[in-house]
Symmetry: C2
Subunit: 66 residues, 2 copies
Amino acid sequence: MCEANAYLLQNGEEQLIMQSVDIVRPEKEGVYLQDIFGGQRMVRARIKEMYLVDHKILLEEEDQPS
Amino acid sequence: MCEANAYLLQNGEEQLIMQSVDIVRPEKEGVYLQDIFGGQRMVRARIKEMYLVDHKILLEEEDQPS
């Protein structure tokens, strides 16, 4: 299975916010995440970078400088 | 390996633009993609949705309504 873990970058630290993420969809309010179990979450953030081979999704808060 | 294939949605059709994508990074000019072989590409598009279990990255042109 090729799901990934989603981390939110806050104050320079990466916080794990969701494991086993399957679907990632940027929306106006933030980023929608859905895991392989059907769990859903909307995060007020944007995608900073994704490393698929490392199973890692890195999000950052919207008001941070990119 | 958990790389994915990147498709660009154009006129309702999905065109395969890069295989074996490892890194995905939204930037001002578009979306930066890097494959597992080190190949790089900048696509004038935005991320529409990603399906990690299905190894699929779906991009859409920036001027299309979301």
